[in-house]
Subunit: 267 residues, 3 copies
C-alpha cells in the first residue's frame, strides 16, 4: 500500500485538504494518507521545510511527501517532484525541500528532481490558486499508482534552496537564531548538538532571558523553570518546564540566541 504525506499551510477548517485527499483516492484508491501538518504559518516556506524534514526521516522507503506552502501558485515558479534518498517529494520549487535535500547530501544519498510538465498527470482543469489539489495531489497519486518519476517531467539540477541559518562562532561560544516555536512554546534554535560537540554549555542568552540550567529532560527541574536541552531532532531548545517559554520570553522566529561554552573538565 503506497503512502502519501501532506504538509501545507491550508489550515483545517475549509476542506481544502479533504479535496486533495479526494483527488488522491480517486486516482490511487489503495493509498494511505498521513497528515504531517496543515498549520504551517501562512506562506512560511522555511517552517514547512523544517517540519517536513523532521518528520519525513521516520517514514518508510517509498513514501511520497507532498508539501504545499506556495505563495507563488499560478506564477511561473516551477512545480517539481524529486527522489531524495529512498523517499519522494512533490511540491512547488520554492525551497520547501531544502532541509530534506541537505540531509540527503550529508548522507551521500541520491537527490534527483524533475520539473513537472506532463499535464496528463494533472487534473484536466488547473485553477490559478490551488495547485495542491489540481496538480500536486494528482501527481503524487500517479507516483503512488506506479508512474515513474522521469515520466512526470524533465530532469532539472537547479531547484531553489533556502539559505538556512547556521550558527557562527563568537569569542566565548556560538551565536545562532530561533528557527521554530512549537505547540508548547518550546523554542528551537539553529544550534545543533554537533555544533556544541564536547564543550559544556554555561549559559544560553535570548531576548528576555538568560538560561543557566542545561538539562537532559524536563523532569529535572520544577515547573516554571527555564532550561535549555537538546530536542528530539538534536536542536538546542529553550523551554519552560510545563510552561510556554516563547510566551514568557516574548520570542519570535529569527531572534538571536547566544551560547557561552567552556571546555569540559578533565575526567
Amino acid at each position: 500500500m503506497a503512502l502519501i504525506t501532506l504538509t501545507t499551510d491550508f489550515g483545517l477548517k475549509d476542506g481544502n485538504v479533504g479535496a486533495m485527499k479526494g483527488v488522491i483516492l480517486k486516482i490511487a484508491p489503495q493509498t494511505q494518507i498521513v497528515d504531517i501538518s496543515h498549520l504551517i504559518a501562512s506562506q512560511a516556506i522555511s517552517e514547512a521545510a523544517l517540519v517536513l524534514s523532521r518528520a519525513a526521516r521516520f517514514f518508510p522507503a517509498g513514501t511520497i511527501h507532498v508539501a504545499v506552502v506556495d505563495p507563488g501558485v499560478g506564477t511561473d515558479r516551477r512545480p517539481i517532484a524529486g527522489l531524495l534518498g529512498n523517499q519522494y517529494v512533490v511540491g512547488p520549487d520554492n525551497g520547501v525541500f531544502t532541509r530534506m535535500i541537505e540531509n540527503c547530501e550529508k548522507q551521500g544519498q541520491v537527490v534527483r528532481f524533475v520539473h513537472l510538465n506532463q499535464r496528463e498527470y494533472w487534473l484536466p482543469q488547473i485553477s490559478y490558486v490551488f495547485h495542491g489539489r489540481d496538480l500536486f495531489a494528482p501527481v503524487a497519486a500517479h507516483l503512488a499508482a506506479g508512474v515513474i518519476l522521469n515520466d512526470l517531467g524533465a530532469p532539472i539540477g537547479d531547484v531553489v534552496r533556502l539559505n538556512l541559518p547556521k550558527p557562527a562562532s563568537t569569542p566565548d561560544g556560538l551565536q545562532g537564531e530561533v528557527i521554530h516555536i512549537d505547540h508548547f512554546g518550546n523554542i528551537s534554535t539553529c544550534i545543533m548538538r554537533d555544533d556544541i560537540g564536547d564543550k559544556v554549555i554555561q549559559q544560553v542568552i535570548v531576548k528576555g532571558g538568560v538560561i543557566q540550567d542545561f538539562v537532559n529532560t524536563f523532569g529535572e527541574k520544577p515547573p516554571g523553570s527555564l532550561v535549555s536541552l537538546y530536542g528530539s531532532s538534536d536542536n538546542l531548545l529553550i523551554c519552560e518546564v510545563n510552561g510556554n517559554a516563547a510566551q514568557k520570553l516574548g520570542i519570535n522566529i529569527g531572534d538571536i540566541v547566544k551560547v557561552t561554552l567552556k571546555d569540559r573538565a578533565p575526567a
Copy 2:
C-alpha cells in the same frame, strides 16, 4: 475499499470525531475515513453545506459523505441519507446537503433521499445529543458495508433546503454577499465566474474597501495588495496578497459585496 468522509462542527479536542471513527470501523473495518472539516463554525449549517460541496466533487464514485452540523439533534428533525449523482450523503435533514443537491440538479444527476427510520442500523442506545456517533456513523458504516439505501429508511421527496444567497443585478453590475472566509482570510462571495460572464470587472466594493485590481493569481501584485480574483471553486474572491483580507477589511459572513462591470472592449 469503501470511503467515508466526515464534516462536522465538533472541533478536534474532545475525541468525538474519534468515537465516530471507532463506530464506523467496528461495523465496516475495511473503510477508509477522510476528514473534510471538523472546524465548521458551531451550528453553521450553511458553512458546512459550502465546505462539503466544494470538496465532495473531487471524491470517487461511491464515496459516503457524513455531515453533522446538527443544532436540532434529539428533536423531531429527520435523520436522512441520500444518493446524489454517484455519491452518498448521511446527516440531519436541515439543509446541509443543499449545495450538493443543487449541483446534481444542474447536471441532471439523480437525487434520492430516505428518512432514516430503520433502527437496526443504528447503535443500540441513542443519546439525545450525539447522533453523529449513535446514528449517522453506524448508518454510513452499514452503507459502506453494502447495505442498500432503500433498506435504511423510507423514500422522501421533501428534504429541507437552505435559501442560498444569489447575486442580483444592479444598474452598473451585481450585488451579492460574503459566503465564506477561509483560513487565510480570503473572502469568498456568492458571485460566480458565470455571473460575470464576458463582462470586465471594474471594481469590487465591500465594507471597508474598494478593490481596483482584478488578477488571475496572487503573485501578480506585491504582498499587502488587495485584489479580486476567481477562487478554485469559481467564486469571486477578495484577498490580500500574503495577508488576511477579512481581518484588514473587518468583513463578516453576510456582508454586502458590489461589483461594477463594463463591456469587454472589442478585440
Copy 3:
C-alpha cells in the same frame, strides 16, 4: 487490519504526530491509525484520561490506544502497555489510563499491565523528550504486527491511578465538580446519570449561574437558554443552547457544581 489510536497534547502544527505515524507504518504498514485528540491541554493527564475513555469504548476489539500526555518523559516514570478488556493501551505510567481501567473493573473485565523494558521493540535511539515517537509508537506498532503483550515487558500490578473526582451527598442533593469543557463550551460535571437515579433535578448551581431547566435535548429551549442535561457519556452537563456556557459563566475545570434534588412525584 490492526487499528491504532493516538491521544496526545502535541498539537497539530509541528509534525510530531506525523513522525509517530511514520514510525508505526514503517514497522506495521497495514495498520489503520485514528486520531482521538492531539489538543489535550498541555500536560493535562486527567483530560486525556477522560477523552480517551469516552472514545475508546466505541472501538473494535483488539484496538491499540496510544496515549502520550507525558510531563515525566525522560525521567524514571515507567513506560507501560496493558490489556483492558479486549483493547490494548500503550503510554506513560502516570494515570492516563485510570478511567479505562475503572470502566473495565466495573464490568469485571481483565486488566493486565506490563512495564515496557524490552528495548528491541523501541527505536534504536531514544531521545529524552519524545518517547511518543521513540518508544510508544514502535511498541504499539509491534503489538499491531503481532508481538504479544508479555514479550514487550514485565508484568506489573501497581500502575499509577489518578484520584478521580466523585460527587458527594449534601443535605438537599449532590456536590461535584467540573471535569471537562468541550469545543462548544458545554460543561461536563463528575455527576453521572446513575448518581441522580430516579430523583428529579430541581436546580444546578455553578459559579456564575443557577440553571433551572433540565431538558433531554438542546432543541427544547430557545438559543441562549442555560440548560442542564445528560451528555452522550451520561455525565450531567451545563450548556447554553447554541452558545458557549463555559464562557458565559466563566467556568474552569475543577469548579464546584451543586445539584438540588427532590423525589419524583408518584405516578
